[in-house]
Structures are given as C-alpha cells and as structure tokens.
Symmetry: C2
Subunit: 288 residues, 2 copies
C-alpha cells in the first residue's frame, strides 16, 4: 500500500483531518475520540469546508433563502494513496458500496430530504486532493433537478427507467451487462463518453439491494471506470448516484470532465456533445 506524508487522507496522517464520524476496520465500525483510530480500510470525516451543516446560521432576512441545514462528509474509501475504484478488487469495491449505503441510511434516518453521493476524480473534475475519495452532502430539500424529474415521471404511465433498461439491454448503446445491472451510453448523453449504470429491476435507492445486487453493482462500477480509464487515459470524471427513498429508479451517471460547460450551455441548458452515444459505446466495449 502506498502512502504520502503530506496527504491528509493517508494512514498515519489522521490528525490532519477532523474526527472521523465512521471508521471502518475488519473488527467493526468506530468513531474517533481524542485520539484518531488507525488500521482502517475506509474512513468518513466531516468536510472541512462544508456546504451544509447541522446548525447553520439564520438565512439573510432580506430575501427568501433556506438555511443550509444538513451534512457534508468525505468518504475515504481506501487507505491506498494511489488506488481508485477503477482498479479496486471485488472486496474493495463491495466495501465501498457498503459504506455508501451506511452513510446514506444514516442521513435519511435523520430526516434529510435528499442525500447526494458523488465522486470528483481529477483536478479538472473538481477534486482538490488526489487521494481517492467520495463526497456526501445531505440536504433539507429535494433539489430542483430531481423535483422536475420526479414530476415528469409521475405523469407517465410506467417507469421510464424500467423502459430504458429493457430497451437498451439489446441496443447498440449497451456497453456491458453485469447480472441485473446494465451499463449504457445514454441516447441523451450530455458529455462525450457519458455512461449510466442502472438496474433492470425497479429499486429506488442503495438501501433496497440484496447482497448479490450490491456485488454486481460494485463490479459494474469498477468495469465502467476501468473502461473509461483505459480508453481515455485516466480522464477526470464525476459520478453521481441518483436515488430517492421512493418513487424513483436508482441510476448512476458517470460523466468524463473532458468537455467544457461554456456560454451556450449556461444560456440554454442544452449540451453540445460531439461524440454520438453509439460511437462512445462501441469504443468503450472494445477496450477490455
């Protein structure tokens, strides 16, 4: 295992971070006290520059605004300074999914309306530290993007994600299938080489999964990221877990950060993507 002396996410440097709210070891899950716990395989800490906090200041009285009530955590999903989900083995990737599920449950149990779990990989994608980590932001509201989607879905006769999964399982936009999960280049890709992972079975969140589904999801994420890394030489990317406690169909969106969101996108909300999803899927299929 490789470590860096300067990296606050590396083993040995635990004092450089706030106290962990969850430390995962082979013998259980712990919480940091005055001394930091060592020997972990994953570690969740409060973000030092939180977007949401348990007790925010009152919002400005001048205009309407909501208090930033919630939580903001960093999940360090490996002690290895030079690893990443693209090269995790089965055990490590399943552990990552388990930690995601644990922290998701923690915040939904405490009344958060939405829990955003996402990874920024590479400086261009917004990561300020290179040691692999995932962020979790728990919100006091359902975000506008999700509200619009839920509203559109509710006016449809059946779940559009179920329809997509069924249709794309045999389309030229399919990249691979792993048990109940498919990985596709979506027809409506916003970025070149965008990938979506979604279950062919209708589940709303990461909490509804059986152990075997979780294993398959972990393998799917690893495979997708591995293909991306090989095809585009470890590009910067973001992935986001879209999920809700009910009436939704969990899906994971992986967007390489290799194109710019510029004036046109900001003016219109329309994305220019010069690589067709069929072409992207064909290239992503071919590399492994």
């Amino acid at each position: 295992m490789r470590a860096s002396k300067e990296c606050p996410f590396c083993p040995g440097n635990e004092e450089m971070t706030p106290k962990a709210v969850a430390v995962y070891r082979d013998d259980g899950v712990f919480v940091d006290g005055e001394t930091r716990i060592r020997g972990w395989w994953a570690r969740c800490i409060p973000n030092m520059y939180p977007a949401m906090v348990p007790d925010p200041d009152a919002p400005t009285p001048e205009w309407m605004a909501m208090p930033a009530r919630g939580g903001h955590e960093v999940i360090i999903e490996s002690p290895d300074h030079e690893s990443s989900p693209a090269i995790f083995d089965d055990e490590k990737i399943i552990r990552m999914i388990r930690v995601y599920a644990d922290r998701y449950r923690y915040h939904t149990d405490r009344g958060s309306s939405y829990v955003s779990i996402f990874k920024n990989w590479g400086r261009e994608a917004g990561a300020s530290l290179s040691h692999t980590h995932t962020q979790l932001i728990a919100l006091p509201m359902i975000p506008p993007l999700l509200m619009r989607e839920v509203s559109a879905i509710s006016s449809m006769p059946s779940c559009p994600y179920c329809n997509i999964a069924e249709r794309e399982a045999s389309s030229e936009r399919l990249i691979f299938r792993e048990g109940v999960w498919i990985c596709i280049a979506p027809f409506y890709s916003q970025t070149p080489y965008e990938m979506w992972i979604l279950p062919c079975k209708h589940i709303s969140s990461i909490l509804e999964m059986s152990d075997s589904m979780r294993l398959e999801l972990g393998r799917s994420m690893k495979k997708a990221l591995q293909r991306l890394s090989v095809l585009l030489n470890d590009p910067p990317y973001n992935y986001m877990i879209f999920q809700m406690s009910s009436n939704y169909h969990l899906n994971i969106r992986i967007q390489p950060a290799i194109s710019k969101i510029a004036g046109f996108e900001k003016n219109t909300g329309i994305y220019i993507n010069p690589v067709s999803p069929e072409q992207a899927a064909s290239e992503l299929r071919s590399v492994l």
Copy 2:
C-alpha cells in the same frame, strides 16, 4: 494593432476561415465572395464545427429527437489579436453591440425561436482561440432553461426583473449604474463574482434599444469586464445575453470560470458559491 500570423481571426488570414456572412467596414456591411474582404473592423463567419445548421440530417428514427436546424456563427468583434471588450474604447464597444443586434435580427427574422449570444473568454471558459470573439447559435426551439423561466414569470403579478432592478439599484449588491443600466452581484450568484447587467426599463431584446441605451449598455459591459479583469487578473469568463422577442426582461450574465461545476452541481442543479454577492460587489466596486 497587433496581429498573429497563425491566428485565423487576424487580418490577412481571412482565407483561413469560411466565407464571412457579414463584414463590417467604415463604408458598409459586405458579404465575402470568392475573394475575402479586407479592411474590416468586425467580421461574422460560419462556425467550422457548427452545433446548428440550416439543413441538418434527419434525426435518428429510433427515439424522438429534433433536427439541429438553425445557425452557428462566430463574431470577430475586433481585428486586434490582443484586445478584448474589457479594454475596448467607446466606439469599439458600441460597434460590438451593433453587430450583436444586427445578427440577432437576422436570425429572428428568419424564424429562429431563440438566438443565443455568448462569449467564452479564456481556455478554461471554453474558448479554443485566444483572439476575441463571440458566438451566436440560432435554435429551432425555446431552450428548456428559458421555458422554465418564462413559465415562472408568467405566474407572477409583475416582472421580477423590474422588481430586482428597482430594489438592487440601492442595495449593497449594486456594483455600478450607467444611465438606465445597473450592474449587480445577484443575490443568487451561481459562481463567485458573478455579475448581471440589466436595464431598469423593461425591454425584451437588444432590438428595442435607443442609441443612447445602446451606448450605455456598451459602456456597462466594458466597465463590468474591466473590473473583473483588474480584480481577478484577467480571469476566464463566460457572458450570455438572455433575451427573447417578447414577454421577457433582457439581462446579461457574466460568470467567471474560476470554480468547477462538479458532481454535486451535476447531481442536484444546486451551485456551491463560497463568495457572498455582497462581498463580491464590494470588491468589484473598489478596484476602479
């Protein structure tokens, strides 16, 4: 005037671009023939990698999709390789607004539903060439972002932009006033140091302006960009002209591209901005 031998937007290299659809000289506006017109102070050419074209291929029959019918132009608003709107003099900046208005009218007259005019300045903001230029994309639809806004506005008793202009003209988020225009750091700034320029008079588009309003708008844009450049050392930025043919209140949004749109923004549509607009306005006021 400074020119570069390699730059396709510099005078002398007109053959490196497609034929201009509008060439602005002191003696009139012309269109390129087999030989390119020289001696211009502004020049509009078709984008070599267009997002929209007059006669697009039929969309894929498999899913619903709209043809990319429209136009995509590059407006080279100065022959000077090292100039930019932040340092244009009065004459140059007014000419730029005039060209914007001309090309906006051209495309709306031909039935485009929306005409997006925007500038990407600096590589980080999506500009692939450093010579100052603006892009125009004419669309066969009103973009979803604008549709939502128009829908929200239509349910309000009065124009929210008129209310904002009146209120912010005396708030601590005011950066400056130039005749009928105000420049503000909006309360809901998506990025650090975001600026909006809007008229205190209700107009829908750049076509509705008197000559004096146009002069004041040009000066406002120059002042805003100059302040941004001085405060943040010529940062990359995007500006976008939000306008419609009716039932809207023209506004121009300037967003420095100094923060990343990362996983959280992509998951939620919510933007994290660590600089309060009051702080940003205070700093932007203080530099000139």
